[in-house]
């Protein structure tokens, strides 16, 4: 905790002292503050009823240094109690317990970008996204997505990337980042990607290799190779296909290395109603599987969602996250309303369901109440942008 406080202090000090030296715009700050309360009806070994409160701030800093360099930094400041504190504690997050709250500071971004006419070089703790899927994200293996946590900020990774832009529609990128275990000195991930954009379509190809002694259980061969392809097309209906194949000697059944998603989104009634669906096949050792660094334990999933826009400032949505293999479902309802400039209200409810709940037959599913430890979850949040 103390070292994070120190890092944050250095960042802020740097931010406050840099503008005078900066000829291209100075340090700028922006951020989001969220005040959330939640109530949970627990399932399994969770308390029958529990509550939580969380105050969260994401503070971003950016400074242009001359014409060719930019520094980025971001920290998360969190004070939590109840549900939120228990969750943070269970994740092993570095926390500081106060009188009636738990405090956390996370270093979220810390990187430098150097750019020339056609080349960018980024180094530090940064976001390195891949693929066009917005729900399951098979290609985005450095930042596994989970539709049960739609508000999660994209995770950063420590490393460097060199991007070449021969023209505005084409980008090639090479990258090298640390392995998943920062204390493993002989692990790491490197790769290359290429993006090409047309008027109504985009494609991305990706190859990477990883050296790790313990991922994904690579006792015989520490090398893991990944090859990905992502496509997006907009022809009135939006189409997306995203896949990543993971190869390792220890993956017995080679289809287990495949993670594949495909879906669409479309709007009706003059864009008042947005409909989307995305299917995921998640092989047992693939990027989206728990074994492969993702979140899921089964193979076949489906996300279906509707959003109704009452106005440009108010919308409500319902999504169904389905585990097809074990017939478990988590319906999720959301409501968003812009109260005033920069201030919005969000409410979200989840109701995990499975066959055991409906038929009491012992078939407890991945998205069911026992596994998620929740019968009902409700969260309301005030979000302020500054």
């Amino acid at each position: 905790m103390k070292h994070l406080v120190l890092i944050s202090s250095i960042l802020i000090t740097f931010a406050l002292t840099t503008p005078a030296q900066n000829k291209s715009g100075g340090m700028s700050f922006s951020g989001v503050f969220e005040s959330a309360v939640s109530a949970t009806a627990g399932a399994g070994d969770a308390p029958a009823v529990s509550y939580g409160i969380e105050e969260y701030a994401n503070i971003r800093m950016q400074s242009r240094i001359g014409d060719n360099a930019t520094f980025f930094g971001a920290v998360n400041l969190i004070a939590a109690g109840g549900n939120y504190a228990v969750r943070a504690s269970s994740l092993g997050v570095d926390i500081d317990n106060g009188q009636n709250y738990t405090a956390m500071i996370e270093l979220e971004r810390l990187y430098l970008r150097l750019k020339s006419e056609t080349v960018n070089f980024d180094a530090g703790l940064m976001r390195l996204p891949f693929g066009f899927s917005t729900v399951w994200g098979p290609s985005d293996f450095l930042n596994p997505k989970n539709p049960l946590k739609p508000d999660a900020r994209p995770r950063a990774i420590l490393g460097g990337g060199l991007s070449w832009f021969p023209n505005d529609d084409f980008k090639m990128q090479g990258f090298a980042v640390t392995g998943r275990d920062p204390l493993a000195p002989n692990s790491g991930i490197a790769g290359i990607s290429a993006d090409r954009h047309w008027d109504r379509a985009s494609i991305q190809a990706l190859y990477s290799f990883e050296r790790s002694e313990n991922f994904p259980g690579t006792a015989l061969n520490p090398w893991t190779h990944r090859a990905g392809l992502s496509l997006k097309a907009d022809v009135e209906i939006g189409l997306v296909m995203d896949m990543l194949y993971t190869y390792n000697d220890n993956i017995e059944d080679k289809i287990d290395g495949l993670s594949f998603s495909a879906g669409f989104d479309y709007s009706l009634f003059k864009a008042k109603l947005v409909v989307m669906a995305e299917y995921l096949y998640s092989g047992a050792a693939s990027s989206t599987s728990m074994r492969g660094g993702g979140s899921f334990i089964n193979e076949n999933y489906l996300y279906t969602g509707l959003v109704w826009r009452f106005s440009d400032f108010t919308n409500a949505g319902i999504a169904l996250i389905s585990g097809i293999d074990d017939a478990s479902f988590t319906p999720m309802m959301t409501f968003n309303h812009d109260i005033s400039q920069g201030v919005s209200l969000t409410a979200m409810a989840q109701i995990p369901l499975d066959k055991d709940l409906l038929f009491n037959d012992g078939n407890r599913g991945e998205f069911g109440p026992t596994n998620i430890r929740t019968h009902f979850y409700l969260e309301t949040k005030i979000k302020v942008r500054f």
Partner: protein
């Protein structure tokens, strides 16, 4: 015209209606439409913008810096605290947005084009069309009318293609200086969808430039969006790098 507002708001629409001179005789519809289309007479424009959205007694004020080139390329960076870091790039017929929340660039296309741009009365769709009105509409002169004390030609447009977002349009063009004073956008059913009003135009570099305009989406109750442009600089060379995806991510 729609393009005008886009020029104004997205910097892609250069919104310059200066070159139209007073007419002593009744011009043809084609001449009037050509004047409207040719009003993008600036090679570049750069300005500080203010977007004021009045919606159901709530006011949202957004500030921005904008660059426009050749009526086809534009770049906007929002500066107000709530939207700081949000950037739009219009290049050719494509519109991209960079969101600081997800740190990614997204192409706005398909159904997303129908959505409101930053909560304003203007949709993304209004901003992306580069083709001239003359190539998209048939026009007839509908006579002359007073529009807010100004003598104006009235032009009725009907779409050549069924795929146009607004099958019918009606324009009021200032007889004296060629300003596009007002226009209305209609659905095929005849229902009026949107209205544009020129609030204020100034002479900059010897040319008339609309520095304050408003748009009303009539499907939104009690709503209007006012766009103000300050510190307008015309025809100053803007580097190609400004109109690039890299600039979105910088």
């Amino acid at each position: 015209m729609n393009k005008k507002f886009v020029s104004v708001m997205m910097v892609v629409m250069t919104a310059a209606f200066t070159s139209v001179n007073a007419q002593n005789k009744t011009p043809t519809a084609e001449e009037l439409l050509a004047k409207v289309d040719n009003n993008e007479v600036y090679k570049t424009a750069e300005y500080d913008g203010e977007l004021i959205i009045d919606h159901n007694n709530r006011k949202f004020v957004k500030t921005m810096k904008a660059w426009v080139r050749d009526n086809s390329d534009s770049f906007i960076e929002f500066l107000n605290p709530e939207d700081k870091g949000t950037k739009y790039l219009k290049k050719g017929g494509r519109l991209y947005v960079y969101s600081p929340d997800n740190e990614g660039v997204m192409l706005i296309s398909g159904h997303m084009l129908k959505e409101s741009m930053m909560g304003s009365d203007m949709s993304y769709e209004d901003a992306v069309n580069n083709e001239t009105l003359a190539s998209r509409y048939n026009a007839v002169v509908g006579g002359t009318e007073k529009w807010r004390e100004r003598d104006a030609w009235v032009l009725d447009l009907s779409a050549k293609k069924k795929t146009e977002s607004y099958p019918k349009r009606k324009l009021w063009i200032d007889k004296e200086n060629g300003d596009l004073l007002h226009y209305e956008l209609y659905a095929l059913s005849g229902a009026k969808l949107k209205e544009y009003n020129l609030i204020k135009a100034e002479v900059i570099n010897g040319k008339r430039f609309p520095v304050e305009v408003e748009m009303k989406d009539l499907l939104r109750k009690n709503s209007k969006t006012t766009m103000k442009m300050n510190n307008v600089i015309l025809d100053k060379p803007i580097p190609d790098a400004v109109f690039s995806q890299r600039n979105l991510e910088r």
